[in-house]
């Protein structure tokens, strides 16, 4: 899409094998039996709010965040970005090929949300999503500990995803009514995707909890490992107080009851207890991160920082 002249040039020769543009046309032309080589289903790019649309609105000045809204966008963008970075690791390593694809879809959804939020956050001072992702230092990130937790085994990943998606669902559901139209738009798209993430993780919680003795032990362990970081998700602070007063976003603490109720239903069906663990103090919203984040950023940022200012 961005370089139509070059791609048309290269696709132009009439060799049927060259047709990487619309292959089905090339294929049918070559065989003469259109029916036999037509695909059973049709693909389309769809129609939804994309990160590029946010970036465009920001650059045109039609979307401009308040200082507080930008800080919120940074928080939510960083959460989603770090989680996408974590989940991306599973692609080519999942328990079964079908799950490579499922986790890939969730990672791509999260990355999309991250790009939208970061593009909007950057609207405050003209920084791009990539400036924010690749050229901030660790203490400038605003992610909370839960999202930074290592993948562990599949059960830990599922436990983390379960908590994340039930939290994000309640968060985005309300943010879709924000007085900030851009945040509302991003959240309205995201909440539908996160709804599926809830379902995916709940299905796995049930299967692992009621599967074999080993899987049950691992699932219990997964929740033990993850649960100390639940508390931080629902902590109010000065920023959320101001955002709540302005109708931009609700207080995180107000999400807790629904989160507890809905996760509780799944845990009950899985015959699992809510882990009795002490909450970790956290501090990511103020730039005080888990020890894990530094490694995540080192890997994510290494290439971009080797070539500052370069275009990719």
């Amino acid at each position: 899409m961005s370089t139509p002249e070059t791609t048309t040039d290269t696709a132009a020769p009439a060799e049927e094998a060259a047709g990487h543009g619309d292959l089905t046309v090339g294929v049918q032309g070559a065989s003469g039996t259109g029916e036999a080589t037509a695909s059973a289903t049709r693909i389309t790019p769809g129609n939804a709010l994309r990160p590029e649309d946010i970036a465009l609105a920001v650059s045109r000045g039609t979307a401009k965040p308040s200082e507080d809204a930008a800080e919120l966008a940074l928080r939510l963008g960083d959460d989603a970005l770090i989680l996408a970075q974590r989940l991306g690791h599973w692609i080519s390593r999942a328990p079964e090929l079908e799950e490579d694809i499922a986790l890939g879809n969730i990672a791509l959804d999260q990355l999309g949300h991250a790009r939208s939020f970061l593009s909007y956050a950057g609207g405050l001072d003209g920084r791009s999503e990539d400036d924010l992702a690749y050229f901030r230092r660790e203490h400038e990130f605003r992610s909370v500990s839960l999202f930074e937790q290592p993948n562990g085994d599949f059960a830990v990943t599922i436990a983390r995803q379960f908590v994340v998606s039930y939290y994000q669902f309640e968060l985005y559901r309300r943010l879709a009514d924000s007085t900030d139209a851009t945040l509302a738009g991003i959240a309205a798209k995201a909440v539908k995707e996160v709804d599926y993430h809830r379902d995916h993780s709940a299905q796995w919680v049930l299967r692992l909890a009621h599967g074999t003795d080993e899987s049950r032990a691992r699932m219990i362990h997964g929740f033990q490992v993850i649960w100390p970081y639940v508390e931080e998700l629902f902590r109010d602070d000065e920023l959320t107080g101001r955002l709540s007063a302005a109708g931009v976003a609700v207080q995180p603490s107000s999400l807790r009851a629904d989160f507890d109720r809905l996760t509780g239903e799944v845990l009950a069906e899985a015959e699992l207890e809510v882990p009795q663990v002490q909450p970790a103090p956290g501090g990511g919203r103020r730039g005080l991160h888990s020890e894990h984040l530094g490694y995540v950023l080192a890997e994510m940022q290494v290439l971009a920082r080797e070539f500052p200012g370069a275009s990719w």
Binding site: T6, T7, D9, T10, P13, E15, E16, A17, H20, G21, D22, L23, T24, V27, A30, S31, T33, A36, T37, S39, A40, I43, L81, A84, Q85, G88, I91, S92, R93, P95, L97, E99, D100, I101, G104, N105, L108, L111, R115, L118, E129, D130, Y134, D153, F154, L206, R207, L208, H210, G211, T212, E214, S215, R218, M300, L303, F307, A310, S311, W312
Partner: protein
Amino acid sequence: MASQTLQSVPAEPSPARHEMSPEDAARRDAEGQAYFDKVMAEDSRIEPRDWMPPAYRKTLLRQISQHAHSEIIGMQPEANWISRAPSLKRKAILMAKVQDEAGHGLYLYSAAETLGQPRDAMMQDLMSGKAKYSSIFNYPARTWADMGAIGWMVDGAAIANQVPLCRASFGPYGRAMVRVCKEESFHQRQGFEILLELSHGTPEQKQMAQDAVNRWYAPALMMFGPPDDDSPNSKQSMAWNIKRFSNDELRNRFVGMMMEQVKVLGLTLPDKDIRFNEETKKWEHGPLDWEEFHEVIAGRGQCNAQRLERRREAHQNGAWVREAAAAYAKKQARKQAEKETAA
């Protein structure tokens, strides 16, 4: 048995061969062969439960499963760069691409399963080193530019190979390839655009792009397989309408395309002997190091051991998850049955 189905095929049509008298079996084979020959002559399609010559089945099973393995192993060199992609847009594109490759592996395994071989058995053959996959994936992806070169050249060569396979005489293979080709149309373009960005970037970026093109050029050309006079199985595959063009034919055509496209990139191909032969109207290229090709196939490539170990690790680490889900399904089915008998 899942092999009695729409997609899948029993190793023997019913009644099973061992239940038939030798005369009946011979008559069945003769009738089957006649029908098979007619399908080939009409350039029609063979479907899983049709009679087919054992060698045809074997060839297809080998080719389709190797193709599937190549997609699955081929995820690795690119997956290694997902975490380091230099922009979020590139990260998303690369994730979607590697994810597609898992999907393509799945489509192909499904096609192979219709020949009566379970996916699990194919996976075992891959992990034990018994089954082969495209040797290109045993080369390391050293820099970000390799993501461009792999997309442009490796996927380009794969597409050149795959488009004719959409018309392969075995229905499930052709249908899988149609889906794969449709989805891959973005893979080559994104690779091309990575290289285009790099070659218009800083001198270091351009050098990175040229270096990647230099390293991937020969392995990409070798993806089409050995030269025609050294490719004993090609002729039979063409007679069976599996292959539509010879290795050299496809390779030469590919070289011609690369020559045009590399100009747009502002880069060069590391081959001084590329020329268009006015007499044969075909592109020609310089000599390729087939000894290296055979070395890598024999397992002595840079990454052979690493790639297989990574696949084995993922499979083994996932065993308890697969078991858990299977056990859960069994328990649920039992509960359901109890409910039904109680009602």
